[in-house]
């Protein structure tokens, strides 16, 4: 009887498939909450430590003297190095980005729908430039990795374009719409939780579930010949060359990919592409 009840309960309740990426979302939400709670608290705590010794004018003067001395030391020793770093700085990697801002973006729920196996892939919208995504971010496939069709899945190279005038971080997440599989990112701009590891183009890589673009440090600037139609503004689109991976799936399950773009600078955007992002 117990086994029958168990079977009936499973049959009755196993009607919802929960996306494996919810784990990422919930952990990210909890992390963002932790950061919100601890940032304000730690500042107050430090002040409480500092305030008691600052009784009387002499203590204030001593404090100011220490600050000035520290400032002079730092300025003298690091001015040239900082200036050099500023002049020669390169595109920021995921490790240099503002984790608090990223946490806020990661906590946003995914709005990508599940798609029935029999449904057509609702590719689009497309942008004024020749790419997918009609908002602030557009994507365009530019190649397939040499390690394509390996055991795990296939990796693709793409250019992501960001309209000029954006300042906040841009978080990009992708899902296979027919089965909810996480699109992984490898390389410099990948971020978030580690999904796994693999070899791409002969190099060992770490798969992560997020891509983060930092508009304040764009790696390249468009235009590239052939990417823009004559009518589109060719000025100052930032361009990131990225690599993403789509896990193998049976039949046509993985032929339709949804992308969500989140930023504090503009409303959430979504668009749908074929696996390759080729137009």
């Amino acid at each position: 009887m117990e086994e029958l009840i168990r079977e009936e309960m499973h049959a009755a309740l196993d009607i919802e498939r929960f996306d494996a990426s919810l784990r990422l979302r919930f952990v990210a939400a909890a992390h963002a909450d932790h950061l919100r709670r601890t940032s304000g608290g730690s500042v107050r705590a430090h002040f409480m430590v500092l305030i008691p010794p600052l009784r009387g004018l002499s203590a204030v003067a001593a404090m100011l003297l220490v600050v000035v001395l520290i400032g002079m030391t730092l300025t003298g020793g690091r001015l040239f190095r900082d200036w050099s770093a500023f002049v020669h700085r390169s595109a920021s990697s995921a490790s240099e980005i503002d984790q608090r801002e990223l946490g806020q973006l990661e906590a946003r729920p995914l709005k990508l729908p599940f798609l029935a196996i029999s449904a057509d892939c609702p590719v689009g919208p497309t942008s004024a430039i020749e790419g997918y995504g009609a908002g602030q971010v557009s994507g365009l496939g530019v190649g397939v990795s040499s390690s394509s069709n390996d055991i795990w899945g296939t990796y693709y190279h793409a250019n992501l374009f960001l309209k000029p005038g954006q300042h906040g971080l841009v978080l990009i997440r992708g899902r296979v719409l027919r089965n909810g599989s996480v699109i992984v990112f490898v390389g410099q701009y990948s971020a978030g939780q580690v999904i796994g590891s693999d070899k791409v183009d002969g190099k060992s890589v770490t798969q992560r579930g997020e891509l983060v673009l930092d508009p304040s440090h764009p790696p390249q600037t468009a235009p590239l010949s052939g990417f823009f139609d004559p009518g589109a503004t060719a000025a100052a689109y930032a361009r990131w060359s990225v690599t993403y991976g789509v896990p193998n799936a049976r039949d046509r399950d993985a032929d339709c990919v949804g992308w969500q773009v989140d930023s504090l600078s503009f409303p959430t955007e979504t668009f749908v592409t074929p696996q390759t992002m080729f137009q």
Binding site: M1, E2, L4, I5, R6, E8, M9, H10, A11, A12, L13, I15, E16, R17, F18, A20, L22, R23, R25, F26, V27, A28, A29, A30, H31, D33, H34, L35, R37, T38, P109, F114, L115, A116, Q193, V194
Partner: protein
């Protein structure tokens, strides 16, 4: 998980290490979603409950006793969230999503039967539905069910018995035709 390793993960999570928190709780998310769906019968409400439970779990990590099992601790937080959501809503919505339940003529009887079981589960008092889901859907041992609901094993058994009595007509084996 060894006590020292668990304590290390908890300390790292309290200090803000997201991967440590994921190691503690991440693998329980799927069971948490099933528990929440079993209790609430609403996908979005279940996701909301588990997200809120994850947030509260991080806040309460300092309360975990050394060596305590994480699963009943976290599922208890999820169950509390589900109870709060169930108390808070005065309406009841049953979603019929064509992408997850595709009726076909040959399966019609079975689908109707499953829908009947879900309807009967919804009619149960929340505390009875909770123990049935924990025991027969998440397959937890009685002792762990008791830890999740914060009651003695005897109470769990009596609630299960009452719930099964109410559900009995729906759990009859299907007739076999020669």
């Amino acid at each position: 998980m060894a006590i020292a390793a668990q304590a290390d993960l908890i300390n790292r999570a309290i200090a803000g290490d997201r991967s440590a928190f994921d190691s503690l709780v991440g693998s329980l998310i799927d069971q948490a979603l099933r528990l929440a769906f079993g209790m609430l019968h609403d996908r979005e409400a279940a996701e909301d409950a588990v997200q809120e439970a994850a947030i509260k779990a991080w806040r309460k990590l300092g309360n975990v006793r050394p060596g305590a099992e994480m699963r009943p601790w976290f599922l208890a937080i999820v169950a509390n969230e589900c109870r709060a959501i169930a108390r808070g809503r005065w309406w009841s919505v049953r979603r019929l999503d064509g992408t997850t339940e595709l009726p076909a003529p040959e399966y019609e009887d079975r689908i109707v039967r499953r829908a009947d079981i879900r309807a009967a589960l919804r009619k149960l008092p929340a505390e009875q539905r909770e123990v049935l889901v924990l025991r027969y859907y998440l397959d937890l041992p009685l002792e762990e069910v008791a830890m999740v609901i914060g009651a003695p094993v005897g109470t769990v058994k009596s609630r299960i018995n009452r719930a099964l009595a109410a559900m009995r007509p729906h759990f009859q084996p299907a007739e076999v035709f020669a």
